[in-house]
């Protein structure tokens, strides 16, 4: 069901990008709840949706490890749709019960879904009303994770964008603040904190915070550094509050991490010698750790299905630091602005495909017989059964992969499927 492919105008340094439309095989933005609720430890995510939403969440979470998780679904029923029940009253009742049961919750997200969007349930207004009702103990915010509007990691973007209006105003007198944006594993966040401290930055904050009460301030004195490439909406609202984005590579791999830190140093006018002193050891450690993995992965051809929007920085890392050969880089959306530094470093001539027509893409993948295919959970085992090695992409969102000391872990995600195939004799 592919529509005619269109060549979109691209900047001179960036490779050709093809746009494809057809069946998409991706998660919706609700999936982000699975890692976001681990990150903000006193937040509850209440999806207002259908049984499908609830089922997606528990299936994406894989195992039901938490007896009483900090996410749930207010499932719309026939009477809600038929207007027999006032959806807002119902929501108030459910939220009231929920907060009564969970006094530890400090922040509640009402998360919009496909059904709530289609019936035009105004969760923004509901959140304002509930916020007033439950102030000051609980902050109530809303965003949409619906599949008709968001793809997979865009759910995190929508969530973080919803946090921005709740952030306090930074005082103009304050020292310039570095605001690192994007959910990172705590261990990685702590590593970056140490690096920025060594650079001499004293005012560093992370979004999202670990606790609802620790929302950092924002203002014209804030410089924004993205840790994830899929945060365009969040950047836009931060800029509206006066913040400035630091254009940079993303901190995947040794080169990406150094580039990311260097961009900060430039923005803060830190001397080059000091930057080198801070990054040298980490960079060398990462490179050393990658050496063995490069031997395993060099020359291997990789085909990437669109999924997390991490595909472009990953392709840059895999091609430049591991000598892998990307043969197609699929991405659900391509934000040329946020990825301009990344795009410039991609090997010449690699096709980038924005959007998806999964059947056509599978045809191309089968024809290309790549050594490794990066794809979602629905496709991985069927491709393995056809004899193609795969790496399931959702792990990229659940595993700490950013920074120097995770560079080899990231490469390991790609080498393990190949090493495993080589070892198995059955």
């Amino acid at each position: 069901m592919s529509v005619p492919e269109t060549l979109l105008p691209t900047a001179c340094a960036t490779p050709p990008v093809r746009f494809e439309r057809g069946q998409r095989e991706v998660f919706c933005g609700l999936t982000g709840i699975v890692w976001l609720h681990r990150k903000i430890q006193d937040a509850f995510f209440l999806v207002v949706g259908s049984r499908t939403c609830a089922h997606l969440l528990q299936s994406a979470a894989g195992v039901m490890i938490f007896a009483e998780p900090r996410f749930g679904t207010a499932i719309l029923e026939e009477r809600d749709l038929a207007g027999l029940a006032d959806a807002n009253e119902e929501l108030d009742r459910i939220v009231g019960r929920l907060l009564e049961r969970r006094p530890d919750i400090r922040m509640l997200f009402l998360v919009g879904s496909c059904p709530s969007e289609v019936i035009k349930l105004d969760l923004g207004r509901a959140a304002q009303r509930l916020d007033r009702a439950h102030a000051p103990g609980v902050r109530v915010l809303s965003y949409s994770g619906s599949g008709i509007e968001t793809t997979f990691t865009e759910g995190e973007d929508a969530c973080l964008a919803a946090l921005v209006p709740a952030m306090p105003q930074a005082s103009a007198a304050q020292e310039t603040q570095l605001l690192v944006v994007g959910a990172l594993a705590e261990i990685v966040e702590d590593q970056f904190r140490r690096i920025f401290a060594e650079l001499g930055l004293r005012n560093v904050a992370f979004l999202p915070p670990r606790r609802a009460g620790e929302l950092p301030p924002v203002g014209p004195n804030t410089k924004v550094l993205l840790a994830q490439p899929f945060l365009s909406a969040t950047v836009a609202v931060l800029e509206r509050r006066g913040a400035h984005r630091i254009p940079a590579l993303f901190p995947l791999g040794a080169e990406g991490t150094t580039g990311w830190i260097r961009a900060v140093a430039n923005a803060f006018g830190i001397a080059a010698a000091r930057v080198t002193a801070v990054t040298e050891a980490g960079e060398r450690r990462a490179q050393r750790a990658l050496e063995g993995l490069r031997e395993e992965l060099a020359g291997k051809r990789i085909f990437m299905f669109p999924d997390s929007q991490l595909e472009v920085p990953l392709a840059r890392f895999l091609s430049r630091e591991l000598d892998m050969q990307p043969i197609e880089i699929g991405t659900p959306y391509l934000n040329r602005d946020l990825l301009s530094a990344e795009l410039a470093l991609l090997p010449a001539g690699v096709p980038i495909v924005e959007g998806q027509d999964v059947e056509a893409q599978l045809d191309r993948c089968r024809a290309a017989r790549p050594d490794l295919t990066l794809c979602g959970l629905g496709l991985a085992n069927p491709l393995e059964a056809e004899g193609l090695a795969t790496k399931w992409s959702i792990e990229l969102c659940f595993t700490p992969i950013h920074g120097y000391d995770q560079a080899a872990d990231l490469a390991g995600l790609f080498s393990r499927p190949l090493a495993r195939r080589a070892r198995l004799r059955v």
Binding site: Q23, R51, T52, H55, A74, E78, I148, L377, L379
Partner: protein, 507 residues
């Protein structure tokens, strides 16, 4: 609106997918947004299927809502037909598409495809997964079951109805039951939906009767076949030794066979239950929760074949709530018909069972409460698709039940040893593992005076006595004693009170 933390069943279109994926040569075109494609992973990751479910999703987006989602549906239908060349198409909507009311049935008909198109309407805001599977099977059977056979039917022929993809041990149950039927000389005409093509469904009326393994899924199709084609269907569920014998007796009657004793040598469960070491199973308090079919069967097997005592019976299959209530009344236990996970947890906590027979959800509840648990029913988990043949049904199924229900209790086998050795110096939580060198042994804890009794209400003597109880049952003893004390307004737990409580709970 209803708050759900975990759900026992998915939406009804997932039920339709289970039927479509079980079958061959059938393709399902689902009008649904992109997020709904998550359902593929249920089959490829949980069931480890090596092929994608035969499902095409339209994956409409917000911008399509303003233009023409109906056109998108037609294009998807056509593309699916051309690419997959199925012999029939199933069409329908997921929850979101139901709201935009595009009428997949009419749209697909308008395409005038050269193959049959079966529409399934699955109300996503009132129905669930099993209902969706049942409705889909029913619609497919209605659409394809040919005219009544002209030749007289062979009385020794039947169909097996109910097994689907992503079913709890459906794969193994089907193999087991098929072998039992064939052992009696009964021919299995068609098994559906698992492995069937639409053309096979056309042959359904040729059999003399239907065997339905999972009423949640097969009952409506079987009822229709009975009404329309005069095929009777089985009511006994072949779970457990007794259930299997009754099922075989019913089948022999339907197949016009003389009653015969069928007890294979390999049936070990009844003997194992009678063997002396199984005495420790006697009267174990067991809580049962699952889909209606498996819960009812488990309650019976637990009481009649294991000698357990049932302390609770429940189901999330609301359509079968009456059956569960009736059964619970005969066992004299409260019935629980709910799909609220928290309500199940509350009931289990209250019932204080020694074993939970439930779903993966109850496994988590039981783990939290420190109670052994065996899984008897969907929702499925990757563990529910073992590599080995592991049926729940038939005589081999009875053997499997014995193993899987008793293993979590194995600690109980040593119970008499525990009481014998409870004060043994080597048998306490302070003792280091005997296989580790002595140097790794932690320094003995200094003999600190026991904490003041104020917080717990325990006197130092009672606390010391408690410490003589083996550590792995100590928590339970503490809880039971404190509850006993609280119920009776006993402020200070003395040694006396500890043993009073023990006597009370010993019942």
């Amino acid at each position: 609106m209803e708050l759900a933390l975990w759900t026992y069943e998915g939406p009804p279109h997932v039920g339709a997918m289970r039927v479509a994926t079980a079958m061959q040569d059938l393709h399902y075109v689902l009008h649904a947004p992109q997020g709904d494609t998550y359902a593929d992973l249920l089959f490829t990751m949980i069931e480890r299927q090596g092929r994608r479910p035969p499902v095409t999703y339209t994956t409409f987006q917000a911008r399509d809502l303003g233009s023409d989602t109906a056109e998108l549906f037609k294009k998807s239908c056509l593309a699916a037909y051309e690419r997959f060349q199925p012999s029939a198409l199933l069409v329908g909507s997921s929850c979101t598409a139901e709201l935009i009311q595009d009428d997949p049935a009419g749209l697909a008909r308008a395409l005038k495809l050269p193959i049959p198109v079966v529409p399934v309407e699955l109300p996503a805001y009132s129905k669930r997964e099993n209902w969706g599977a049942a409705e889909t099977l029913y619609q497919l059977v209605r659409a394809f079951a040919g005219p009544a056979a002209t030749q007289p039917r062979d009385p020794r022929s039947c169909n097996i109805l109910g097994p689907t993809a992503l079913g709890f041990r459906h794969r193994d149950d089907t193999r087991e039951i098929r072998a039992l039927l064939e052992g009696l000389g009964i021919r299995v005409n068609v098994t559906a939906p698992l492995g069937a093509r639409p053309a096979d469904l056309a042959r359904l009326p040729e059999a003399a009767f239907n065997v339905i393994l999972y009423p949640e899924i097969a009952h409506s199709a079987a009822s229709w076949l009975q009404r329309t084609h005069g095929q009777p269907f089985t009511r006994c569920i072949p779970i457990g030794t007794i259930g299997t014998r009754e099922f075989l007796a019913e089948v022999m009657q339907l197949a016009d066979l003389a009653d015969a004793d069928v007890s294979p040598e390999a049936l070990r469960a009844p003997w194992y239950a009678r063997s002396v070491d199984s005495n420790y199973l006697h009267g174990k308090r067991v809580f049962v929760f699952g889909d209606a079919t498996h819960a009812l069967a488990a309650a019976r097997v637990a009481t009649e074949e294991f000698g357990f005592t049932l302390v609770g019976l429940g189901t999330y299959s609301r359509e079968f709530g009456r059956d569960i209530r009736e059964a619970a009344a005969t066992y004299n236990v409260p019935a629980l018909v709910t799909d609220d996970y928290l309500a199940v947890e509350a009931r289990i906590t209250e019932a204080q069972p020694e074993l939970v027979l439930g779903t993966q959800m109850e496994r988590h509840i039981a783990k939290r409460l420190g109670i052994p648990c065996a899984v008897i029913s969907a929702p499925v988990h990757v563990q529910d698709f073992p590599a080995r043949h592991s049926p729940q049904m038939g005589f081999e199924g009875a053997n499997v039940l014995f193993d899987t229900w008793v293993h979590p209790l194995m600690m109980g086998l040593e119970e008499h040893l525990l009481s014998m050795f409870r004060e043994d110096f080597e048998f306490s939580d302070q003792a280091a593992p005997s296989h580790l060198p002595q140097s790794s042994q932690p320094a003995p804890a200094p003999a600190v005076p026991l904490p003041a009794a104020v917080a717990t209400g325990w006197t130092p003597e009672a606390e010391r006595e408690l410490m003589k109880i083996p550590f792995f049952v100590r928590g339970k003893a503490r809880r039971n004693t404190e509850r006993y004390a609280a119920d009776r307004g006993i402020g200070q737990i003395t040694v006396e009170a500890l043993y009073e409580a023990k006597a009370h709970h010993a019942r």
